[in-house]
């Protein structure tokens, strides 16, 4: 227990330090130091790392609870800095998407290079329902997820018959087609200009688009969304964790490993594939819905191929089929580029380089969670 507390607090401190350093040279030095430290730890502290991993794996509930508790304090620790609150909000939305994509691609083995389309569907659902139909955000949001799921199934149908690179092509095409549709159906979606002035949600009478007053401190509206995103991220993580670590998750893994054998052992591939697409897409829709209400403005160009690539790079960095990996990948690939704002132009190239380097040198990702779903309780011989 102590170990968990100490390691998590250490990470928290490092994170706060990272947020506060301004000078880009110092930031680069900090990152270099971290990489070297990580590398040395892997080389010399093998046993220590394994022990930590074991403690974490056996106490996931405590780890999560503590992390959530720490997360609650972050807005105060960063003094309500609205810029960083916004970054963290984006990070959490990215994390929700990464988890959804990870479920589809990592767990079920269905490659998807058009995930941005699901975020787009969610965003436009909330945008259109709240802006044009005056429906409450809290009803529109789950609808955003459901609608995205529907599109997941629509993608799933042609995808049923194809595998591997063919599937990759179909998913890219799907992402592009959705984007085209959003551009062309001007009367509903506003075309290239998108939707503006999407209303902020109101929570028990409080408009989430205004400043928050904690009494001793007040923060800009991003703080409202911080807590909303945090709740949604926790729910997403728990839900997908449960789905993954169940007999259902096991079946998806079997399908990923060998579709033909899985079929010969009774798996109705159609059902499982469509379910995987639907569930994975749902969370993309949720992330999109929150994005729309937070930024109050969406346009088709926000949800293009680049975004799909960014989400894929997050799960590659984190490790395919790893929930902590997806979280870590989303964290690093959202937070780190922010420190190098000056190099904004190089952002997409950076993601491409990450993909190439990770696959060449660190194929399993930063945090491959090798924990199998069902482990035998006793591994000794049981006798004849």
């Amino acid at each position: 227990m102590i170990k968990i507390l100490l390691t998590e607090l250490l990470c928290y401190l490092l994170f706060l330090l990272f947020v506060y350093i301004e000078d880009p040279v110092m930031v680069a030095a900090f990152i270099a130091l971290m990489i070297i430290a990580g590398y040395m730890l892997k080389k010399t502290g093998r046993d220590f790392l394994q022990e930590i991993e074991k403690v974490y794996a056996e106490n996931l509930g405590k780890v999560g609870l503590l992390a959530a508790a720490i997360a609650l304090t972050v807005p105060f620790a960063i003094m309500g800095d609205s810029y960083w609150l916004q970054i963290l909000n984006f990070m959490m939305l990215n994390a929700i998407m990464a988890l959804g994509l990870n479920f589809m691609t990592g767990r079920a083995g269905l490659i998807c290079l058009g995930y941005a389309a699901f975020m787009a569907i969610g965003a436009y659902t909330v945008g259109i329902l709240t802006l044009k139909a005056g429906i409450s955000f809290w009803i529109a949001l789950p609808l955003a997820g459901i609608f995205a799921s529907l599109f997941g199934v629509i993608l799933g149908l042609p995808a049923l018959r194809v595998k591997g690179h063919y599937l990759a092509l179909v998913t890219i095409a799907f992402g592009l087609i959705v984007q085209e549709l959003l551009l062309n159906l001007e009367s509903i979606t506003g075309g290239t200009n998108g939707l503006i002035d999407i209303p902020s949600p109101s929570f028990f009478g409080i408009d989430m688009g205004t400043t928050v007053n904690f009494g001793f401190m007040s923060m800009t509206y991003q703080a409202n969304f911080y807590y909303l995103c945090l709740v949604l991220l926790v729910i997403t993580t728990v839900v997908l964790y449960r789905f993954s670590n169940s007999l259902f998750g096991l079946a998806l893994n079997a399908m990923r490993e060998d579709q033909l054998a899985a079929q010969c052992y009774g798996l109705n591939l159609t059902n499982y594939k469509l379910l995987a697409f639907a569930i994975g897409a749902f969370f993309g829709g949720i992330a999109g819905g929150v994005y729309a209400a937070m930024i109050n403005f969406i346009a088709p160009e926000n949800f293009g191929y680049s975004l799909s690539i960014i989400v894929i790079s997050m799960i590659i960095l984190g490790g395919l089929d790893s929930i902590p990996g997806a979280l870590v990948g989303a964290f690093f690939l959202t937070v780190f580029p922010e420190k190098f704002r000056a190099f904004e132009d190089y952002r997409v190239m950076f993601y491409g380089i990450i993909i190439v380097l990770c696959l060449l040198f660190m194929r399993e990702g930063v945090l491959p969670f090798k924990h199998r779903i069902f482990k035998p309780k006793t591994t000794g011989g049981e006798g004849n």
Binding site: I111, L113, P158, R161, V162, G164, H165, Y166, A168, L169, V170, I172, A173, F174, L176, I177, E180, N184, L260, Y305, I309, I312, S313, I316, D345, Y346, V348, M349, Y351, G352, I353, I354, I355, V356, L359, L360, R363
Partner: protein
Amino acid sequence: MTIELIVQQFLNALGLGIMYALIAVGFTLFFGVIEVVNFAHGEVFMLGAFVALLSGGLITSIGLTMGSLPFFLAILLLVLLAGGIFGVLLEKFIVRPMRSAPDIMTLLITLGVSIVMRESVMLFVPNGRNPQPFPKLFEMESIKIGGVLIKPETILCIILSAVLITGLYYIIEKTTFGRYIRATAQDREAAMMMGINVKKIFIITLALGSALGAVAGMMNGLSYGIIKFNMGFAAGIKGFAAAVVGGLGNVYGAIAGGMLLGFLEIFVVSTIPDGSSYQDLISFVIVILCLVFRPAGIFGERAYEKV
């Protein structure tokens, strides 16, 4: 529709189709021989165009005048070389290290390479974000046949492509190397056991396919007079689509697929009102339909999965 318009559209379709065919051939070679899907192949198309654009100064400095035939041939040679070298580097640094990894990862890594290439051109070529006018590499006059005005660039591209495809045919069917390539494509292990240096074959295949793709890019620049850093993206997808339609691994299928796609696109653009905005979409939809109803392509063989 006047006869003039029909002829022009026909030539456009031919030019477009043959460009897609050249890209598709690369994809199909890579898949058939090396069993990889190279998502960076679309970018070699862009590379070829930009090499042609940027090396004008180099060529004139060695004494060739811009617009003359020798000038054009020099540029062509440079483009072929650039494509070939790219293929070799790709094989050595990307494809070979990923031999042991699952196919999905090779696909993703080539995707990463394509992103890096695209962004690099956008960032490092002067004024890279904007469309670049493409120079007239070969001064020619418009030809008039029976009242129909024909762009000389289109004819040049068609002739060039015909030469390249004939050359490819000759290499594959008539030379020893071609035989080795076909053998490796059929059964890699048997080829190795027969003493074929499969590693070298991989390098040659990647170099050959990439060189063709690079020339296609140059031709694109010639035909449209404008190139942009992201031209490889759509071209890559369409080239891959054409290869799939023709049956992955089947070189003649790839050529047929490319022609088919080119003709379909021009048909849609010229007959459906406001068709040009749907031009790209058409390819994507066709690909999806093809994959769903006839995944092995029009000319591909029905491959029964080895159980």
